[in-house]
Symmetry: C2
Subunit: 195 residues, 2 copies
Amino acid sequence: MNFLEEKIITDGIIKAGNLLKVDNFLNHQIDIDIIRQIAYELKRRFRGETINKILTIEASGIAIATMVGHLYDVPVVFAKKSQTTNSTDDKYMAEAYSFTHQRHNQVFVSRPYLSDTDRVLIVDDFLADGQACMALINLVHQAGGEVVGIGIAIEKGQQPGGDLLRSEGYHLESIAIIDSMDDETQSIRFRSEYN
Amino acid sequence: MNFLEEKIITDGIIKAGNLLKVDNFLNHQIDIDIIRQIAYELKRRFRGETINKILTIEASGIAIATMVGHLYDVPVVFAKKSQTTNSTDDKYMAEAYSFTHQRHNQVFVSRPYLSDTDRVLIVDDFLADGQACMALINLVHQAGGEVVGIGIAIEKGQQPGGDLLRSEGYHLESIAIIDSMDDETQSIRFRSEYN
């Protein structure tokens, strides 16, 4: 069991409806040791790759992205969310359906911050249905840039995002992949346990 | 002129209506060198203080807060915004009026993440009317904690937030304080220039 799986076991709370609450170390209170270790582990997994930009989406991806950007010493861009479609003249824009909030979000990055020379590592705290991630990929491609990889802290393996991204050939690295969890017994099964 | 004032001069864009756009290094694209230097400078200015938690507000405060938390090696908490008033049983909640969006936001932190043993450094990218900052102070006080200081990247000195916080006795440190700016001539006057 790796450091993040262990942290999920000790500090995560499983809620009904396949929800995992990691508020106390990842997306409300941030355990700086864990964030640092996530960043180092992602850098290790993408060893040898040339990366000149980190891309994430507000808000909870920003902490991990900042620490990864610090290690790579490259700029970090966070895509913004908007519920309305504004003028797209000055921005790259994509749509992401949020299953959590059951609504379509517009996701955008201002044009100067993505370009055709960019070799981008996309990072986020969670991967579930992959909608946010696909929107970020779309933004990089609109700019003519390359998605070198996708680095995720926690992947919900029962949801289709991970399989979708892998089947499309993306280099996806998730530090913890949850294959099943049970809120009654508060038990979690990680994919790594089968390996 | 310090590093941040210089960066604002070279990369900031002044827009009509007293707006300063620093999208390309602070709150959309993040220049990791600048964020690092902001964090080191804030730590220097609060030298000698015991701080065990960093508090900010989503989204654009998170990058600076993460880097400051990394330097202090303490947890980072980011308050969340909500436009609706939900149950407050499990959270500390305060109201912040946003002049930018002309609406009242509820700002909250889940109860376990602030306590009466906390000595908190509040950090944010901008200080203008001080509404967000006052809401964060309110949350710390609800929990019985102490606000050791407030560290800001850019203070808009013509707006009342800074004076209000100083007059109430808070130790406020803003790395760049803008006393006036002119969108037609793209000129900025910093408070440090008078010292």
